[in-house]
């Protein structure tokens, strides 16, 4: 199966620059996830992994100075994660970007077809396994565009204001 070979390929590129595949994936997630989702448990859900494993990966990333942990004011159990400047620089050298460039051999049409096919297969699989889609905030059923209470947009699930940036990031809570 080709998807399997791709997975292997992506993984073998994931050992560059002194990081491990799991660490790259955590970094990428933190670069794309909105503030509500940048927590160890958000990352755990995204990776389909376990709390213990993710905890170790984050310790490694913190030791390398790529990720910073901050206490959550409202929930003293929770930890907020953010990329450091070095973390953002690392993402700019992400080996995956190169593979992403390989998609250029495809025409626009084919690229869209590939994306749609993968999306629907993924959706089917997530449904069966109870995984979360992690879609864009603005495509969520709880997203209220141009809400009337000050902020540009609003989340009716968490009941908070959303910036334009927020709405372009992925979210643990997102539902179609």
């Amino acid at each position: 199966m080709l998807l399997e070979r791709f997975g292997r390929l992506l993984q073998s590129r994931g050992h560059e620059l002194g990081l491990k595949p799991a660490q790259w994936e955590a970094l990428r997630y933190l670069g794309r996830a909105n503030r509500f989702s940048r927590t160890p448990s958000g990352l755990t859900a995204y990776l389909g992994s376990t709390k213990g494993t993710v905890s170790q990966t984050l310790i490694a990333l913190e030791d390398k100075g790529l990720v910073r942990k901050k206490a959550d004011r409202d929930d003293r159990r929770a930890v907020r994660l953010e990329l450091t400047a070095a973390g953002r620089r690392a993402l700019e050298a992400d080996p995956l970007l190169e593979l992403e460039a390989s998609l250029d051999v495809l025409g626009r049409r084919e690229e869209v077809a590939l994306d749609q096919a993968l999306t629907s297969v993924l959706a089917g699989h997530l449904e069966r396994t109870g995984g979360r889609p992690f879609g864009l905030c603005r495509t969520c059923r709880y997203f209220e565009k141009n809400a009337t209470d000050g902020g540009p947009h609003r989340c009716s699930l968490l009941e908070v204001k959303l910036s334009a940036d927020d709405s372009e990031q992925i979210c643990v809570e997102q539902e179609a």
Copy 2:
């Protein structure tokens, strides 16, 4: 990138039945590779890994009784690998089969489009990294259909007869 999420998904399913992702991939390879390719170095090239890592994986599979090693008569450095009966049974319970069934949400058309897109991206990547395609024997430039020297087919690279089964398996040496 969706391909990345798929890779992660495939990997997290790879811990079932007491095997690890790398072990499953080795097992799958040995179930699909022709006799010339069922060696530690063939597997190494397929996985894009290193000899040392593959050696360890094979030891683990041998200990579990899923793979058997045999000496090569002609080349006393080489090791021939084959699945045991238990190894073949394990492949029948491969968790990947389930994910493969997820492709059924796609129509014929979309499935073909997906396959073509992945194939061309993969080919581009392999060319840049010097990887081998591991295509079917019968699609190889060295494949001689219905050769005249007894065997049904023939390989003009290795200069050996090929059975019908041989020609339907993947090969390290395959070239378009």
